[in-house]
Amino acid sequence: MYLHELPTYHARGNDDECQRVIIGNRCVHLLTADIHDGDPFTKYDGLEVRVTERSGLSPMSGLYWLPEVADWRRRLRALGESGADPWDEAVALANSRLDFVKTNALDRAVARIFSGKPPENLATKPIRLALLGSGTMAHLHPAIRVAGLRRGLWISTYENDYGQYWQELNDPSSELNAFAPTTILLALDAHHLAAGVGAHLNQAEVDRLFADLTERIGTCWHLARENFRCPVVHQTALPVHVALLGNNEHRLPGSRRTFVERANRELRVMADAEGVDILALDAHAAHDGLCAWHDSVLWHNGKQETSPAAAPVYGDLVGRVLAAKQGRSAKCLVLDLDNTVWGGVVGDDGLAALVLGQGSAAGEAFVAFQEYARDLSRRGVILAVCSKNDEANAIEPFEQHPEMVLRRPDIASFVANWNDKPANLRAIAEELNIGIDSLVFVDDNPFERNLVREELPMVAVPEVSEDPATYAQTLADAGYFEGVSITDEDRARTGQYQSNREREQLKASATDLDSYLRGLEMRLIWRRFDTVGLQRTVQLINKTNQFNLTTRRYSEDDVLALIDDPRAFGLQLRLTDRFGDNGIIGIVIGKMAGDHELLIDTWLMSCRVLGRQVEPTTLNLVADAGKRLGARCLVGEYLPTKKNGMVRDHYAKLGFTVTEVRPDSGSRSILDLATFVPAGTFIEVREG
C-alpha cells in the first residue's frame, strides 16, 4: 500500500543510521538498513512507504518558494549604511528564503534603522496587529513583521500579558486599549481550547463545555469589534492532542483531539456569520504534517504551541491575510509556455510532439497545472502569457491541441516574441492596466527567473522545481492570490479583459473619438457605499495607486463609519457599455468641511476607463451630492506620491481654480457650485 512520501532529512542517531520520514502527521524513524539501495519502497508497520527526496515539497523547508539571496548576511549588515534606499533593500531581503534566525535578524535590523516607526511616505497603511492568545507567542512577532515587510507593509505588533486576553478585552484601561489595534488576531491554542475536557466526561458534559467555549469566543469577537472597531481574524488550533482511541477517535466523547477538531469546524461557520476571517493553521498542519508546526520537545521547554521553526511560514500566513484585507494580493498569473504549460519546445518540436495530456505522467502533470490556472482565473485571477516564441507558434496549441485546458480566450494578455521577459512583463502590466507589483510569473527556466527578479524585484517569481507536478502546490503554498471573499467582479474578470480587446477594435474602426464614444453606449451606474459592495470598495481604496488624488487608505470599518456619517457621502461607480460590464471603476468620498465647503477626500478610478469621459460625468454626480449636503463649493486636493503623477492636473482640467500649489507639487483647487455648468457627455447616468 502506498502511503505518503515526504522525507524531511536524514538524521543519524546515536547508534544506528536512520532516516526521518513524515507519514501523515507523524514523524517516524526508518532504519537505513531497511531502505534498500536504489529501491524507493520500504516497509513500515507492514505498510509500504515510498522514500523519495523531492525538492520543493518538503514540509520542513519553510518559505521554499522564495529564492535564496546570495550575500544575504553581508547585505543585512550593510542595511541602512549602503547607498540603497533602506526600505527597498529591507523589502528585498525579506523576499528571500528566510529561516527563523534570519527572520529575527532582519526584524531587529529594521527596528533599529527605522527606530520602530514606519518610514515616511509609505504607500501602504501601517497596520497595528494585536495578537490575543493563551500561550507564548513572542517568537512569532518578528516573522509577522517581516512578512509585512515582504509585502511593503509596516506592521506593529502587540501581545497580551500571558493568559490575560479576556481581561484585556474587557478592561478599558488595558495596554491593549493604549495600543489601539487596527486588526485583532485571536490565537487561542489547542491546550487552552480543550481545558477541562478529558476522557472521563460524557457527551452531555462535553457539549456543555463546547457551548461555553463557542460563546466565550463569540463574545471575544464582539468585544474586539465594539471596543476597537477593527476587523478580527480567528486562528484555528493545531491538532496537537494525541489520539486515545485511534481511527475512531470521534466516538470518544471526552477526546481532546475531537473537541479541538469540532471547535475548528464550528468556529468557521460562526466566523462566516460574524464577518470574522480565519487563519487556518489546522489546514496547513494537515498539509505539512503536524511535525512541521508543533515540536513537542520545545512545547515542554517553552510553551510554544507553534514551533519556532514554523514561525517564518506562520508569519507569512498572517501577512498574506492582512495584505488581502487591504486588497493587496496579486492579481495576475503570468505563464511561460515551453516546459511550463506543456512539455517540449513548440517552435522546435512542433505541435504533435508536445508532452501534454494522457500518455505520460509529465503530460498529465502539465494538464493538472493548466486546470489549476484555469480554476484560479474562474475565481478572479487574470491569466497572461509571456513566452519567447514566434507568436503564431505560441498560439497554435491554444487553438489546435486537443489536450489544452487553457484556450486563447482564457488569456487576457498574450505576449510571445523575442524581447526580454522583463520588458514583456512591463508590457503585460501596461496592457492590463494593473500595477506591475500585482504580477506573479511562473517560468521553469532559472535564468529567466533570475533575470526578472533582478530587473523587476516587485514581480513575484516563485522558485518552482523542475517537476510540473509541483507547480500548482507551490503557487498555493506561496499564497500570492490569497483572497478573503469572492465578489461578482472577481468571477467576471477575464470576460472584462476580453471586452477590452473588442473595444480597442471598435476604436480602430471609428473615424473620430466622438463617434467611438457614442458607439460604446456607456452607462455610469452609481450607488452610495453599502455593505454589499464593501469588499470591492475597500479593495479599490487600498490598491489603487495611479489614478488616486489623495491615496488615503481606509479599512472596512472606516468605510462602515462613513456610511453612517450624515455629513459625508461615498459613491461607488460602475461603468457598462455594449461590450460588457467594467465593474466598479471609481470611488469618490466627499466630506463637509465647515458649513458650505465639500472636501473631496478621495477620488480614485481604474485606469482602464481613462479617456472615456468618466471624469466629467463623475464630477456632475459629486456636484449634485455636494449640493444636497448644502455645499456651495467643492474643494479638491492633490497629494503627490511616486505613482500618481497622472492626476496632477485632474482638477484644473475639470474647470476647478487652483488656489494653492505646494513645493512638493501637491495642490488645492476649488469649484464654485453657483456658476458650475455640468458637462455634457456620451454617458448615460443612473442610480442602481
Binding site: 538524521a11 549588515r77 527563523f100 534566525v101 535578524a105 513572542a138 510554544q304 519556532p308 521553526a309
Partner: protein
C-alpha cells in the same frame, strides 16, 4: 566529528544569531558571559544547530545544556 570543528561551526552560528563578528566560544562559557543570551536566543541557537547538523535534541538533552561545552558534547554524540 572532532570537537574543534564543532566549535568553529558553532562560532559561525553564534555570530549570525547575535549579529557580532567578534564572538569566541570556550567550553566554560555560559549565557551569563554573553550579552543578550536570553531564552529567545537560546531557541535560535538550538534551531540553527538542529537544522545545520540535521539532528534533533531530545527533552533531557535540552535540560542538560548549561554551557557551550555541554552543547558541543551533545552535538558530538549525535553527528
Amino acid at each position: 566529528m572532532p570537537e574543534a570543528e564543532i566549535y568553529a561551526a558553532l562560532e559561525d552560528i553564534f555570530r549570525d544569531v547575535f549579529m557580532r563578528d567578534d564572538i569566541k566560544l570556550s567550553p566554560a562559557m555560559t549565557a551569563k558571559d554573553l550579552e543578550g543570551w536570553d531564552s529567545f536566543k537560546q531557541i535560535e541557537i538550538i534551531i540553527s544547530v538542529e537544522s545545520q547538523y540535521h539532528i534533533k535534541f531530545n527533552t533531557r538533552e535540552l535540560d542538560s545544556l548549561q554551557s557551550v561545552g555541554d552543547l558541543v558534547r551533545v552535538i558530538a554524540s549525535k553527528v
